[in-house]
């Protein structure tokens, strides 16, 4: 196994070739915030929260902003994960997510267990510097067991990926463009009308906010369970099925 060495926050780190910067940082116990990334699913670099400053890649000395979840570590890279510029970017990203949708934490099913809410605390978002858009969005309760509230969806596409990559049903996709962009089930049908859905609930388990939930959930009752997906992925890849 070939190894490459790089610096993260002035610390020398050696990782196997092909490791992403996010994995390298985590192996070195250097936390980088993520939202769309979820271990066990493919990485799409949609949220831009894991942006880091990289010098020394391809011989370039000026800092480049690269998404750590999809950037492969290379020999001689010098990576900064928490500069003031990065911290401002992350706060701005979170503010954009909050102002772009309708996130009312106080009454949300995921209040207290929400990754977006936790990140807002982590990046110090005590208010938004951007105006709220208050878009008109709807709630789909047509499924017998689950609900989808587009107001709370941040388009991380974890549900799209888990349904496609792990369940193999591909119920979810991303429809429309720009400000009209939203998660769609089937070909834009109500969720309850999509025959491909196996009712497995993996999409609900991996949703980082209260966008996907069990219909009986009331405020604060929704808990995500990404570990269920990760256990399944691990079992399949290692053929280890016993607990």
């Amino acid at each position: 196994m070939s190894v490459c060495t790089l610096q993260i926050n002035e610390r020398d780190v050696a990782v196997p070739t092909g490791t992403t910067l996010l994995e390298a940082a985590r192996q070195a116990s250097i936390p980088i915030p993520t939202l769309c990334f979820l271990e066990g699913l493919s990485a799409v670099a949609a949220c831009r929260l894991c942006l880091v400053e990289v010098r020394g890649a391809d011989g370039r000395e000026e800092p480049r902003l690269l998404a750590a979840c999809v950037t492969t570590a290379a020999e001689g890279m010098r990576v900064q994960t928490h500069t003031p510029r990065l911290q401002d970017i992350r706060r701005t990203v979170i503010e954009l997510l909050f102002t772009e949708g309708n996130h009312v934490c106080a009454i949300c099913v995921a209040n207290g267990h929400c990754e977006l809410q936790n990140l807002a605390v982590e990046v110090g978002m005590d208010h938004s510097r951007l105006p709220y858009r208050f878009p008109e969005r709807h709630v789909d309760l047509s499924h017998a067991q689950f609900g989808l509230d587009h107001n709370r969806c941040i388009l991380c596409t974890r549900c799209v990926r888990v349904c496609d990559e792990v369940e193999g049903a591909h119920v979810w996709d991303v429809g429309w463009r720009g400000e009209h962009c939203q998660i769609i089930s089937g070909l834009g049908e109500p969720w309850g009308a999509v025959e491909a859905c196996t009712h497995c609930g993996k999409c609900v388990d991996v949703c980082p906010t209260g966008a996907l939930f069990h219909k009986a959930d009331t405020s604060e009752e929704k808990h995500s369970h990404p570990e269920r997906l990760q256990a399944l992925v691990h079992a399949r890849s290692h053929q280890e099925w016993s607990p």
């Binding site: 106080a106 009454i107 309760l141 509230d149 009986a216 009331t218 405020s219």
Partner: protein
């Protein structure tokens, strides 16, 4: 006749409540004089608009408890319970007995803490320090300086009620614990025992408040009894199946009762589901707060009062020993049906005692700690009405949902609204008695403020915990000229 709608009047008689003049949390009052310079009418304007009924549309009905609880930080439990009761009906389930008892326990705690706030924190400074004492000191802080023991007692009693709410729901305010189908978590025997430990002190404080207030009534508050909203009217509220005092819907609830001032039953056993058949709401252009009335009797004769005094008037008895003794004394003081609004204060203290006694009984019930507390179902009914007795009176939630459970329409009938007519009559009575010529005196302002506070409207709670009620009072002549205006923040 409303000057704003009278085409024959000159334009200068128009009173306009413009959005610009909205004063959030302020009571705006206008007093209108007749041609002889005497008070014709006084109006309590509610100029805030919050829009809950509108923005709930499109939301899952399971969120209604969480959303509507946010209407108020003083009595969120009332909306929580009314919303949960409505949700039970949408699921079409009978909730587990333990859940019903736990909800009752929370409502008793809620009534206790809210009444304690109303009496000790907000109203007692008026009685104890004097209507005309320095407004800077006529508040809870003045009371702490003048009578620290009483102030401490009030705070402790409220703390007890809040503590019970926290023990059940996980936090004191906006505990989203009651849900469609029951409650989220059972009560452990250990927590039950902790609640029980607080009861002796709470009883002592309630008795202390009663002794104090009855002494004041006997010695110095005679005029207030006659002037602060003393008039005949209907009373409305829940009673239990056997006619005793009731505060929650559930297996023992006998429905809504309406009683006249002479004790005649106007209606009994009314179901909340049928409220639209017996209640109507009048709208006045000068207030966002509607005026509910008994439909069959019309807006004037059908005007009614709700809340502690109404509940005590409506019941045959309370059903617990100490509270029944106090109820008997109340009726000796004010008649079988008490019509003096000033006695809302006494009714609150009696209800605190009743709540504590009922809590004591509930805590002895072994079923209270059962662990099956939630029934689960999907949408089985598309329209439902839930009812609960909030500290301030009867609270109705009415939802219509689509096939999937998304809210299509919401109607909330809140206690303060139902006392709207009575509050207007009360301040008219006070203005007639205390208006000195055409001058708005401090004494008048103090008494108008206290008259409104008899009903403990949400307004006073939400804006007034630490001081005097922000007020704007306007005096109009018969031809609509603004004679004087006083405002204090």
């Amino acid at each position: 006749m409303d000057p704003a709608t009278d085409a024959n009047q000159p334009t200068r008689r128009t009173i306009t409540i413009d959005p610009v003049t909205r004063i959030e949390g302020h009571a705006k009052i206008s007093i209108h004089l007749d041609a002889a310079g005497a008070v014709d009418t006084a109006r309590f304007h509610v100029t805030e608009y919050r829009g809950f009924e509108k923005f709930c549309e499109g939301r899952p009905f399971t969120e209604m408890a969480g959303i509507t609880a946010r209407i108020c930080g003083i009595c969120p439990v009332s909306h929580l319970l009314a919303a949960a009761a409505t949700g039970d009906k949408i699921l079409a389930v009978q909730i587990p007995p333990a859940a019903e008892k736990l909800r009752r326990l929370m409502n008793l705690a809620q009534i206790t803490q809210s009444h304690a706030l109303s009496f000790f924190h907000l109203s007692s400074p008026d009685f104890l320090l004097g209507w005309d004492s320095d407004p800077e000191k006529r508040n809870i802080f003045g009371l702490i300086a003048a009578n620290p023991e009483l102030a401490r007692s009030g705070i402790r009693l409220r703390q007890f009620g809040q503590g019970v709410i926290e023990a059940l729901g996980g936090r004191k305010i906006h505990a989203a614990w009651a849900v469609p189908g029951g409650v989220r978590s059972p009560l452990s025997p250990e927590t039950r025992d902790q609640i029980r430990q607080g009861l002796p002190e709470a009883f002592a404080i309630a008795e202390q408040g009663l002794t104090l207030f009855k002494h004041l009534l006997d010695h110095q508050l005679g005029e207030e009894l006659e002037v602060f909203g003393q008039f005949p009217s209907l009373f409305m509220g829940l009673v239990s199946r056997d006619g005793t005092w009731e505060h929650s819907s559930g297996r023992n609830c006998g429905g809504i009762r309406v009683m006249a001032s002479d004790g005649a039953l106007v209606a009994d056993g009314l179901k909340e589901d049928d409220y639209a058949s017996f209640l109507a709401e009048a709208v006045e252009p000068w207030s966002y707060l509607k005026f509910p009335y008994i439909k069959a009797l019309g807006p004037e004769a059908g005007s009614y009062r709700v809340g502690p005094l109404a509940r005590l008037n409506l019941c045959e008895r309370i059903g617990t020993e100490r509270a029944d003794r106090e109820l008997l004394e109340l009726r000796q003081r004010g008649g079988r049906v008490v019509t003096a609004s000033f006695l809302y204060h006494l009714a609150r203290l009696i209800e605190i005692l009743a709540c504590l006694e009922q809590m004591e009984q509930l805590l002895d019930d072994p079923e209270l700690t059962a662990t099956h507390v939630r029934a689960r179902a999907s949408v089985n009914c598309h329209e439902a009405v839930g009812v609960s007795e909030a500290p301030r009176g009867t609270l109705l939630h009415h939802y219509r949902v689509d096939a999937n459970g998304l809210i299509e329409r919401v109607n909330l009938i809140i206690a303060t609204g139902q006392n709207n007519g009575a509050m207007n009559r009360t301040i008219t009575q006070i203005a007639r008695h205390y208006l000195d010529g055409q001058h708005l005196s401090e004494a008048l302002l103090n008494r108008v403020e206290a008259g409104i506070r008899c009903f403990d409207p949400c307004l006073s709670c939400s804006t007034h915990a630490a001081g005097q009620m922000p007020l704007q009072v306007q005096l109009f002549s018969a031809d609509g000229e603004l004679l004087q205006q006083r405002r204090r923040d």
